[in-house]
């Protein structure tokens, strides 16, 4: 299973036949394992990694440090779940250290993101403070170096 996950993580578009050869198991077995992984939500979703800047699309991303008051019984969960629901929120993590939640927001303009923080995020009950950092450049994302074309520099034929 682990090996299959590693192969899919590297390239989820590989045909089943190829995976079967690489794993030395039957096609049916591969399909069954993938289905199982999907059913268990071990494989959560397949999606491409897009360099929007390259696509000529301007997007603004901000990382927001949020401090909150944990609530009785549910701790951080209730607030975290509320924040999750906003489509603008790309990712959300509970953190150790100087703040509690790390929220990543994506918007089309600076104003849009600022608006979201001011009107939606900081007004949630239990949110004590927010610190917004705008992202200036993305070098590496999801394990992929964005502008990395390590070309094959080897000679065509060598002994």
């Amino acid at each position: 299973m682990k090996r299959l996950l590693e192969l899919l993580e590297k390239d989820c578009n590989q045909p089943i036949e190829q995976l079967a050869v690489l794993l030395q198991i039957s096609k049916e077995e591969v399909a069954a394992q993938i289905k199982h992984l999907e059913d268990e939500r071990i494989i959560v979703k397949y999606q491409p990694i897009i360099n929007w800047e390259q696509a000529g699309e301007d997007r603004v991303t901000a990382m927001i440090d949020v401090r909150i008051t944990p609530q009785r019984e549910v701790g951080f969960e209730a607030i975290a779940e509320r924040i999750c629901r906003f489509p603008e929120v790309v990712s959300l993590y509970l953190m150790s250290g100087g703040y509690d939640l790390s929220v990543m927001i994506e918007g089309r303009t600076l104003k849009e993101v600022a608006q979201f923080v001011a009107t939606k995020l900081s007004t949630i009950d239990g949110v004590i403070s927010t610190t917004t950092h705008f992202m200036l450049k993305r070098y590496k994302f999801a394990g992929v170096i964005i502008d990395d074309r390590e070309e094959d520099r080897r000679l065509v034929v060598s002994p």
């Binding site: 390239d11 590989q14 190829q18 050869v21 690489l22 030395q24 390590e150 094959d152 080897r154 000679l155 065509v156 034929v157 060598s158 002994p159």
Partner: protein, 385 residues
Amino acid sequence: MNWGDRISPLVKAVPPSGIRRFFDIAAEMKGVISLGVGEPDFVTPWHIRESCVHALHKGYTSYTSNYGLLELREEIARKIYENYSVTYNPRTEALVTVGVSEALDLAIRAILHPGDEVLIPEPCYVSYKACVMLAGGVPVPVPTTIENEFRVTVEQLEKLVTPRTKALLIGYPNNPTGAIMPKQQLMAIALFAQKHDLIVISDEIYADLTYEGTHTCFASLPDMRDRTILLNGFSKAYAMTGWRIGYALSNPEFIAAMNKIHQYTMLCAPITAQLGAVEALRHGKDKMEKMVAEYNCRRQMMLEGLRGMGMTCFEPKGAFYIFPSIRETGLTSLQFAEELLKTEKVAVVPGDAFGASGEGFVRCSYASSISNLSEALERIRRFIK
């Protein structure tokens, strides 16, 4: 003035590399998928590259001892002991060289007297024969066959050994066939070497790339340590071809003799590369094992792919080459490779570049991405139809 006449007959006698000729054709073409490459497609793991950058920052730019950095020799001795339980004294029995190529040349030059014969199982790496010739020796090819899984047998060796035979030069896991030698068969070779009092030069550069069982180091066989000049390096397993670091391990007399040539011709291997090699041995095992697992995947893929289209193909168990037979096409190795390159733009290396017994085969390297390999297989399938 015909300058050609002034070239040493020893150099003249060495035929130009068969690979070189083919390279000139392939290098000109666009859109070629190359299975002709004898080096990893991975770049050196970042931690090794980074350690080298750090060394430069710190100003490590001097010569080292002729023998190489002691810390590197110690790491080498440690690795060999851990893997094969053979002990070498890093101070007197280890020599760091500029790639295994240099180590091979030194070993041959250190032991050969003009006219001495060297038994060389073929197909084999292209330098073996040439190095022996350049040292004034006589290479004696020992053909191996697909029926024998490209392993050399004592019966064959016995037929070709003469009173002038000085050494046996073996390279397993083998380039170009991917053959390995199991311990039992190596034992028989060891007895043969002892019986005829031969020195054994064992090029084990692909040792870490063994996919079935574990590699047997020739020097680990009974009484073979001092008789063997063990060669290895960093190029293949650690993806460090361009760093040019290899090494030789043997008895102190042989190492001192090799060092004598090395100190007057090469002085020492580059210090930055040596420091990179230290890092590779200290912290590179995980990354190396990942790469080996990846090669193994590709090996399966190539084997099934080539057999699936009806080609006779021996299962390679080491290195990163597969050596299918092309006899059924009715073409020679060179014709096959040229036609395949022209019509489908896939570069493979004609088997006869590795010795006469390689005729009828081509070498495909699977040190290439899965997507490249699967495209190459598709093109080969179209070609042989």
